[in-house]
Structure formats: C-alpha cells, structure tokens
Amino acid sequence: MPKPENFDKLTPDQKREARIDAWLNHEGLEFTDPAAEKGYRERAQLFADAFLMKKPKRVPVAIATGFCPFVYAGYSCKDAMYDVEKLGKAMKKFHVDFMPDTAASAGLYPPGKALEILDYKLYHWPGHGVPENTSYQCAEAEYMKPDEYRTYLNDPSDYFIRTYMPRVFGALEPWKELPPFTDLLELPFIPYGMLHFGLPHIQESLKKLMQVGEISLEWAGKVTEIDNGIITSLGLPKYQGGFSKAPYDVIADTMRGTRAIMLDTFRKRKEILECCERNIPFMTKMPYGAYTWGAPPTVFFPLHKGADSFMSPKDFKELYWPSFKAVMLNLIEDGFIPFLFVEGSYNQRLDIISDPDIPAGSTIWYFDQTDMQEVRKHLQGWACFAGNFPSSLFRAGTVDQVKDHVKKLIDDCAGDGGYILVNGAVLDEAIPENLHAYVNTAKEYGVY
C-alpha cells in the first residue's frame, strides 16, 4: 500500500490510519513464507488494536531488550558493539527462542569502533569506560556551560557545530576554530570562510569523520538485514518507528546534565523555557529521518528528567510539559502516534499528561514504575498504555512469581483493550525460564 498521493490533504485521523495500514501491510518487506507473513499481520494487528484502544484477540507481549540477547547467547556486551556477526546471531537466537509479539532492533547497539574514532564522551560503552559485560551508560557533564544558554538560543545549529560537537566528540575538537557558516555570504568572503579546511588538524578531523561515516553506513546496512531477517522469517513486526525527545530532555540529558539542570531550574528558569521552545521544531523533525513509508507509525520518546524523582509537579507543568506537548501535537497532526516511555515514575503527573488537548487514541504511554491502577483510572479510554512488568523479576524472581505478576498486570490493566505487556526497563540479564514464563503466560492468560 503506497503512500496516498493526497496524503497532505488528509485529516490527522486519516493520516494515522494510512500509516497504520502501510505498516500492517508491511510495505517494502518480502516474507520468507506465507506463515511468517500471516504471523506478522496477526501480531501487528494486536498492536494496532491496542494502540487505538480496540479489543485485540489478546494482550500483545513485548520484551524491552537491553543487552540480554547477548548474555543469553553466551556473548559479551562488547560483542554486540564490535562484532556485527555476533550481533545478528544473538538477536536472531533471542527472537527464535522466546518469540515475543514484536522484534527488537539491532540498531540499539551502535558500532563501538565508530564511537572510538569519534572519541565520544557522553557515553561509556562495554570495554570502553565500563567493563566488557556491562551495558552502555551515560557519562553526563556540563557540555553546555551555564552562561551559554543565550548562545545556543541565538543559533542552535551553529552552537552544535562549533561548540557542542567539539566538546562531546574528541575527534572534532578542532571544529571550535571554524568560523560560522553563516559568514559565507559573498564571493570575496569564501576563501576566508574556507581556509580552515586547509589546516592539517582540521583535515584530520574530517578524515576521521569519513571513516566513521563508512563504518556507520556498513553497519546500518547489516542492521537492516538483521532486523528484516527477523521480521520476515519469524513474522514479528517492529512496533517502534521513529525517535524523538522531549525538548527539556535535550538540554537536561545531553547538554547540561542532571545536576546542573536542577540548579538551573532555580537560576536559569527563563532560559530553560526559551530553549525548550526553541527545540520544538528540531524534535518535531527528528523522527522523519528514520521513518520510511510502511515503518511502524509510532515515534518513540524516552522520557527522563521530568520523572517524579527529578522535579516537582509544578516544574513538570511549567518547564517540561508545554514544549513536549507541542512536539507530540505536531506529530499527531501528521498521523504519527507518540510512544512515550516514562522511565522512573509519573505517579504525580497522571492528571497533567491526560490533557484534553491531546486527542483520544493518539498516544501510547509506556510506564516503568508508575502505579498501574492509577494509570488505568486516568488513561483508560483516552490512550493506550503499556509496561510496568518489573525487570528485577526476570533475574531475581522465580517462574511462579513471574507468572503471577503477568496475570496480575493483565487483570489490572487489560480492560477491554489498550494495554501492551512489556517490562518497565530495558533488560540486561534474565533467567531464560523466567522469560519463557513471561511470554507464555501472557499468550495464554492474555486472551480477551
């Protein structure tokens, strides 16, 4: 089902329907056999029904994978990021053996070699700053200084090219010497704007960038092969499409860091608000980069610094929510379904997020530790919700505890549709029997 020619003239609901149809009809995918194709359609339909709060045949079940496919396959976490053959084998084995209703993407494990060449500082990854058997972890710092809000606001792209990137990528440090590209206005200015690219250390940074480009390109091709192989042979749809962030998190996670942004909420409140506003168009555009027609109609947002433990409800309402909501509404307008992963908890925000400006059936709220009874009270009939299975039970619980908890969540949340069972936090380690119990119980007990 190709993109309708009159797509731009459709209403948001019609656009969403067209995007869902293209995904259900797996635009661009060739299956290995009819059974896989049938399985794909059935599973994707379970999710599509849940997204729109219709009653599916049963509760769809997903596994949010961290590094557990590699631990399970007997590989190290480092292997996932340095050996694309092992990456493929582990992902395939994990899906064949556990058969959740959806495929996780190999794209979550970027090539370590490329990050090394870049000398990327914002994260440590297996074998590079953290042990080989540990997942990648954020190493926050004040990559934007407290007095630079105004510079960022004046020209975010210029700030990224000449200030943020030189700090966060060691290989691009020389870029701090570049003149702004907005100087390239008239013929006589061109050589003065370009002569930096003749300097050996700047040329060196460009060579590194080309190497990183080549590695990334090759990796992306292989990742697509791995993902499509799983989808087309096992009939497991992906359910997460594009990617974006809440505008506040852009500043808090990436540029200022948790501690600094917390102090800024007292000291630089006006600047934070202006930056959030400034980030709306960037975060609206971001998901389009990864989206092709036929991909899942969802846009995944990992939500971080607005959680209960990070700010007051008042600050959430004033600082975090307005720009985040604006990005969501822009995407909903174009037929996307924001898929909102609430890490930590939102117990004190449920009345704020169930905002009547957001049309019913146009968002999915995926919770980690939020009280699901309250979630149901606030969200049922307005939005699909997901999650809350404690990842700790996969490693520290018994098979019976896992089964009981799955049943309890289904009892509490399934209602007449609109719930997806998934663990609340990405999973690095699990007892295989517990994972089997989780998937199988959901498939048996989750039938409507």
């Binding site: 540990t134 433990s309 007051s312 990842s391 520290a396």
Partner: protein, 212 residues
C-alpha cells in the same frame, strides 16, 4: 541562631541566603551557629522531601547553599580551632561494580552526612573487594550499595557475599537503592533492606543504629 537564614535556605533563596551568611559573619556571629542554621534548614527540607512536598532539585540546591556557606565559615572555624559536629554512626557507601551512575548516590551520601553520619564514599564502579577492604578499615555499622542498571543486581549480590566470605556480614547492615532496585533485588542480593530514596536511606540507617 538566625531564623532568617533558616527560612531563606528553606525557601530556596540562594543569593539572599549566602549574602545574609556573609553579613552575619562580618557582624561577628559565631560561625558554627551558621552551620547549625543550615543543618536546621536541611532538616526541614529533608522532612518536606520525605512528605513529598519538595523534590530532588531542592535537595541539590540546598546542598549547593550549604557548600557556599560552608566555604565562608570554614576559614573562621579553622582559625578559632573549634571542632565539627559529633557523628552518630559510620556508613560505607558506593555504586557497585560495572555501574558508573553517581547522582542518586551523591544525594544519599549528602543527606546521610547532613543527618550526622560519617560516610566513606567509595565512588562508582566499586569492586566487591574494595567494599570489603573499606569495611575492615572504617568499621561502619551500615553499608550502602547503589546501582541504576539491571546489570547491577549480580554485583550487589556478589558484594554482600564477599562481605560474608570475609566474616564481616554480621557486623553490618546492608541497604540497596537506585533506578531498577526494589525489594525483589534486596532479597536476591541478600541485603537487609531496599530504600527508595535519600530520606528512606537516612531512616533505615538511623533505625539500625537506634537513633531517631
């Protein structure tokens, strides 16, 4: 005692609080009393935090005000030769091996310190052997294990086991906390308790050593 200083700190009025502290010191107020004021303010903030009336940013800013006022007071205390606050107990604290998250740990260590504990902070990515060594040397009543990731479950378990193997397990109470920790993990790691936030950690530690 300056009620005004206590109120400014409690109300998160950073600039005014620091300015008032400077002024009071210039006027010759006992520098130690300023620290008592800060502690009183932090007590109020801690209670409000436990009651869900204030949040982590307030704890961080309070810590920042205390740091600034402490820096003003320190030279005066050193010159007068006056000592510091009596400690109520000793705690060894760290983020377990393989995990580099420090924000939650730093907040808990800060609140324990404010509440009168002598805390040895071992930092992040701390191997079990280092906890054992610290317990031998520092002789704490309590060990705090922090971790954010699901991959921290086993290092927590291994750390408790290492304390047991070294014959030290009975001499300490062990609490765990952080991102993906919960009571299931506390049981799995054979820790004594899970604490959900900084004030829960203070409450657990005070309970174990028998002070209120």
């Amino acid at each position: 005692m300056s009620k005004e200083l206590v109120d400014l700190v409690v109300d998160m009025r950073e600039e005014e609080a620091v300015k008032l502290a400077e002024k009071l010191l210039e006027e010759g107020v006992d520098p130690l009393s300023l620290l008592d004021d800060c502690r009183e303010a932090l007590g109020v903030i801690g209670d409000r935090f436990a009651a869900g009336e204030c949040f982590v940013p307030e704890l961080i800013l309070a810590g920042e005000m205390l740091r600034q006022i402490g820096a003003l007071v320190k030279p005066k205390i050193e010159s007068s030769g006056k000592g510091s606050q009596e400690k109520i107990g000793r705690i060894v604290f760290g983020t377990v091996e393989g995990d580099i998250h420090d924000i939650a740990k730093d907040i808990v260590v800060f609140m324990l310190d404010i509440n009168g504990f002598d805390v040895m902070d071992l930092g992040v990515d701390v191997p079990a052997a280092k906890f054992v060594e610290a317990v031998k040397e520092f002789k704490p009543q309590v060990v705090g294990l922090s971790g954010f990731l699901t991959l921290a479950y086993d290092p927590m378990k291994n750390t408790v086991q290492a304390l047991k193997d070294a014959g030290l397990r009975d001499s300490v109470k062990v609490m765990i906390g952080g991102g993906q920790m919960d009571d299931n993990v506390a049981a799995y790691a054979k820790a004594d308790a899970y604490g959900k936030d900084a004030m829960a950690a203070v409450k657990l530690a005070k309970g174990w050593i028998g002070v209120n």
